[in-house]
């Protein structure tokens, strides 16, 4: 139970084993494990960054969507306004045109009426002359009385 040469041999074995274990087992394994934890940490960081970017993008998308919606509402409103204006314009124009047509028609009718009146007057004067001729026969001076009758007729029809 005393120390002897075995002690020296054991020191050699132990120290050699430490060196070998460090070189062939512990070193490679700890390198590997550290590389792995680094990789996992990187992966988690990347995942976090990705999530952050996703959240940011979602916010951006929501903003853009909101903007687009507002714009669409604006466009629709302006289009409705524009269409109402066009409608209004068309109605006004149509009304004007109708008025013009009515006016023209009325003018034409007036002219036609005048013409008819003139014709009628002439005819009535002729008839009256004819009648007066028949009634008064030849004692009357046709041209002098014609003026007289015409005056009467015109006065009488003019008031009519």
């Amino acid at each position: 139970m005393s120390l002897d040469l075995t002690f020296i041999g054991q020191i050699v074995i132990f120290l050699t084993l430490v060196v070998l274990m460090r070189k062939y087992l512990y070193g490679p394994m700890i390198d590997l494990m550290e590389a792995r934890s680094q990789k996992i940490a990187d992966g988690l960081a990347a995942a976090d960054a990705g999530n952050e970017a996703k959240a940011k993008a979602e916010v951006e998308i929501a903003e853009q969507l909101k903007e687009a919606r507002t714009k669409a509402v604006e466009i629709i409103a302006s289009a409705e306004k524009r269409s109402a204006e066009i409608n209004e314009e068309a109605v006004v124009k149509a009304r004007e045109e109708a008025q013009q047509i009515v006016d023209a028609a009325r003018d034409e009718v007036g002219a036609e009426l005048n013409r008819a009146r003139q014709t009628l007057r002439a005819e009535v004067a002729g008839i009256a002359m004819l009648a007066a001729e028949r009634v008064v026969e030849s004692e009357l001076d046709a041209s002098r009385h014609a003026t007289l009758v015409e005056g009467i007729v015109s006065r009488g029809f003019g008031n009519a």
């Binding site: 139970m1 005393s2 120390l3 002897d4 040469l5 075995t6 002690f7 020296i8 041999g9 054991q10 020191i11 074995i13 132990f14 120290l15 050699t16 084993l17 430490v18 070998l20 274990m21 460090r22 062939y24 087992l25 512990y26 070193g27 490679p28 394994m29 700890i30 590997l32 494990m33 590389a35 792995r36 990789k39």
Partner: protein, 274 residues
């Protein structure tokens, strides 16, 4: 022990080493072949396992042997990191080797008490102690190696502080100035005792635990062989219980040796307060 007859010499007969004497007159000049052989085999197995595993290491999800070793490596690495103020790339492999080497050697103790001895008898060897940690040489070798490392780091990292501590602690500040030179040798002696106690306690703790464990195994074995049917039955169950307990002790002693190694080296690495 020397006067015990060989072979069936009772328990003491089973506590003799397979000794090769190089010089009959000098008790230091002898080698315990069984201790050397078994520790070399264990070390060789560890080295072979390391080489085998090194070729199969995968960087992805580990499995099987790599997974098991990674848990041990991770445990040792965490222990060292928890205890060490600075990074020293030698400490963790040292602690790892201490832990695995001692744990493996201690585990040999759970083999049936006479098995390896009887195998050795077949080859003409009279005495064979299967567990090298039962031989004071191995724990002492490891403890002294660790102690030398501790002294190396003490002198390398803070030589002035360490020498001052050797001479000035613990009494110098308690005595008046003219007495200081007188208490310095006393301080030195106390401090040397304190330092030498480290490897002594480290080696004797492991040696004592494992030696006592083996003696109890032998007692149980003799009970089993010599006590008739009842003795055999009792011996079997007591032996089983002791095997399980001893397995735990072996692991615990390996852990204690490792953690004390780390702690002693960590103390040597602590920065000087003054």
């Amino acid at each position: 022990m020397a006067d015990q007859s060989h072979g069936d010499g009772g328990i003491a007969g089973h506590l003799q080493y397979w000794t090769v004497k190089l010089d009959e007159s000098n008790p230091f000049m002898q080698i315990h072949m069984d201790t050397m052989l078994v520790s070399l085999v264990v070390a060789g197995l560890m080295f072979g396992f390391a080489l085998w595993l090194k070729g199969r290491l995968v960087s992805g999800a580990p499995s099987g042997a790599q997974n098991a070793m990674e848990s041990v490596v991770g445990f040792v690495d965490q222990t060292v990191k928890d205890n060490f103020p600075v990074h020293n790339p030698l400490i963790a492999p040292l602690a790892f080797t201490v832990f695995v080497f001692i744990a493996l050697i201690n585990t040999i103790d759970i083999l049936p008490a006479f098995l390896l001895g009887n195998v050795a008898h077949l080859f003409g060897v009279e005495h064979f102690r299967p567990v090298p940690t039962n031989d004071l040489n191995l724990p002492a070798a490891m403890a002294v190696s660790v102690f030398v490392l501790v002294l190396y780091y003490e002198f390398k990292l803070k030589p002035v502080h360490f020498c001052k501590e050797l001479l000035m602690e613990p009494f110098t500040n308690l005595v008046p100035g003219f007495l200081k030179p007188i208490v310095m040798p006393i301080n030195l002696i106390l401090k040397l005792v304190e330092e030498v106690a480290k490897p002594l306690s480290l080696s004797f703790r492991l040696f004592g635990n494992m030696f006592a464990g083996e003696v109890i195994f032998l007692l149980i074995a003799f009970l089993l062989l010599g006590g008739g049917a009842v003795g055999m039955a009792a011996g079997f169950f007591v032996g089983l219980a002791w095997t399980i307990f001893h397995l735990f002790i072996g692991l615990l002693q390996a852990f204690i040796f490792m953690i004390l190694t780390v702690v002693y080296l960590s103390i040597a690495h602590q920065p000087a307060e003054h």
